[in-house]
């Protein structure tokens, strides 16, 4: 059971408040959705939870361990933030293999299974990343985030550049990750997708948490 606790988290970048006093608790078996217009702070909040940036105020705890003090990054996390980023001169498979080799937790078969799961067949997996279409890049990005079955899965706009079948695939992946017991955090512009997938939706506006699904339902 993984628990992410944010307490009064704020972040200022060059004097500008991008995240303002956010508190929330996220746990396993739940899908947390983030909704808000561009610049509302969704990606910044995901970066904070990933440990890529540190809060200027408040605390983030992952399983009671203080992020930035006791741990620099969550111990088991998979991220797809904004655009997928891989090395152009390597194939899809080679890119994933290189990333997987850092923790050395999964073998080639598991990488291939993940590639197949996200809809990249053997031929696509052998292609160089620079020859991938936008949709294929997005699928590879999702594969990179989930291949090691991390405790925390962060997906920022995972349906970008995907066709209808790709969107259905994302839904299936999110459900699968939830069933597996991961904390899934997803940001998506498509309100219908978020409504369908998220157990709770957090609405962000100018870096502040303005309401959650529960409050909306009560209203």
């Amino acid at each position: 059971m993984t628990i992410i606790e944010l307490k009064n988290v704020s972040k200022k970048i060059r004097g500008v408040t991008v995240i303002d006093d956010i508190s929330m608790t996220l746990s396993s078996d739940r899908v947390a959705g983030l909704r808000g217009i561009n610049g509302s702070g969704k990606t910044m909040l995901m970066r904070l939870i990933s440990g890529l940036i540190l809060p200027t105020g408040g605390t983030i705890k992952i399983d009671d361990k203080l992020l930035g003090k006791e741990i620099t990054f969550p111990e088991s996390i998979g991220i797809l933030l904004e655009n997928p980023a891989f090395l152009d001169s390597y194939s899809g498979f080679q890119n994933l293999k290189m990333l997987a080799s850092i923790r050395d937790q999964i073998d080639d078969d598991q990488i291939n299974q993940t590639l197949k799961f996200v809809g990249l067949n053997e031929e696509s997996a052998k292609k160089k990343y620079k020859k991938y279409s936008l949709g294929m890049k997005q699928r590879l990005g999702i594969a990179g985030a989930i291949m090691e079955q991390p405790d925390i899965v962060i997906l920022d706009e995972p349906t970008n550049s995907l066709d209808t079948s790709g969107v259905e695939l994302v839904k299936e992946i999110v459900r699968h990750e939830k069933e597996r017991g991961a904390v899934v955090i997803i940001a998506c512009h498509d309100a219908d997708i978020l409504d369908e997938l998220a157990d709770e939706i957090y609405y962000l506006e100018e870096g502040s948490l303005v309401k959650t699904t529960r409050e909306v339902k009560q209203a």
Binding site: S50, L52, I53, F73, N83, A85, L87, L99, I102, R103
Partner: protein, 285 residues
């Protein structure tokens, strides 16, 4: 050493040594080195023909492998291109990599699997080795090619005017007693400095937002150091430009081992210190 660091280092080394920039730069550096070899071998046989026409002293100890390989001659275009462009050649294979990985966001997917300090340490080592090897390999090949044509006669002080290593020159005793050891010392020196030139690009990429600048800034910094010698003319006796002391043919001033060690340490402290300190603290937006 953690297990993730070992794995990360393996990945970084593979990326640094198996990329098209490393191969292309190596080919260009090899061309310079082979161009020097071709010119010097031709010059050697020309000199032999001239001496044989005169008869008498064959001056065997004046015409040796050790003053005809690229690190011991200062006459060919290959030599000039190789040693003048060394900081650029060293940075081209992998000095730009952090800049690209940071710009694309790739670095985020790597550091969340390890740690920022491990990432930057692995990157520093891989960049250093790629820069070192892209210089070391052409030097070695040049030495071997030249050795195939010109005998490795131990230089004699009787023919000092044919050799560029004088009394007081760096490691001059080795040159006239054990010249192979002298060459090995220069190969090590060049490997280390080429590695440091490459890591300068890595450090610069923490500040500069342009890929071309990342590659060129170290080259221009070394050129500034090289031409700053002119301000020291007639005031300071020893060589301060790496472009002049990384081969055994200093053009004006003799090299001094303490200046070389001092500069090497300074380059290392600046590149390693800044990369690890700033990189480790850097927020990945």
């Amino acid at each position: 050493m953690t297990s993730t660091f070992k794995q990360l280092l393996k990945v970084e080394l593979a990326k640094a040594l198996k990329n098209k920039f490393f191969i292309t730069t190596l080919i260009i550096a090899l061309l310079f080195a082979l161009f020097s070899a071709w010119y010097m071998i031709d010059l050697y046989f020309y000199s032999l023909r001239g001496l044989s026409r005169m008869g008498g002293n064959q001056m065997i100890q004046a015409l040796s492998l050790f003053n005809h390989w690229i690190g011991g001659e200062a006459t060919s275009l290959g030599f000039t291109l190789f040693f003048t462009l060394m900081p650029l050649i060293a940075a081209l294979p992998y000095g730009w990599s952090y800049f690209i990985e940071n710009k694309s966001g790739y670095v985020k997917t790597v550091v969340t699997r390890s740690a920022k300090t491990e990432y930057f340490l692995a990157k520093y080592i891989a960049t250093f080795i790629s820069g070192g090897l892209v210089i070391l390999i052409p030097l070695l090949i040049n030495f071997i090619v030249v050795a195939c044509f010109i005998p490795a006669v131990t230089p004699s002080t009787m023919y000092t005017m044919y050799h560029s290593v004088y009394h007081g020159s760096l490691w001059s005793q080795s040159y006239y007693t054990n010249p192979v050891w002298f060459v090995i010392l220069y190969l090590i020196l060049d490997f280390i400095f080429a590695g440091l030139f490459a890591t300068m690009s890595l450090t610069v990429s923490l500040f500069v937002k342009n890929r071309i600048a990342v590659i060129l800034v170290p080259f221009f910094l070394i050129l500034v150091l090289h031409y700053s010698r002119t301000f020291l003319a007639y005031k300071y006796y020893y060589e301060i430009s790496p472009l002049n002391y990384l081969h055994s043919t200093p053009i004006i001033n003799p090299a001094n081992v303490w200046i070389i060690i001092g500069q090497g340490l300074l380059f290392f402290i600046l590149t390693f210190g800044l990369t690890m300190r700033l990189g480790g603290k850097r927020e990945l937006l």
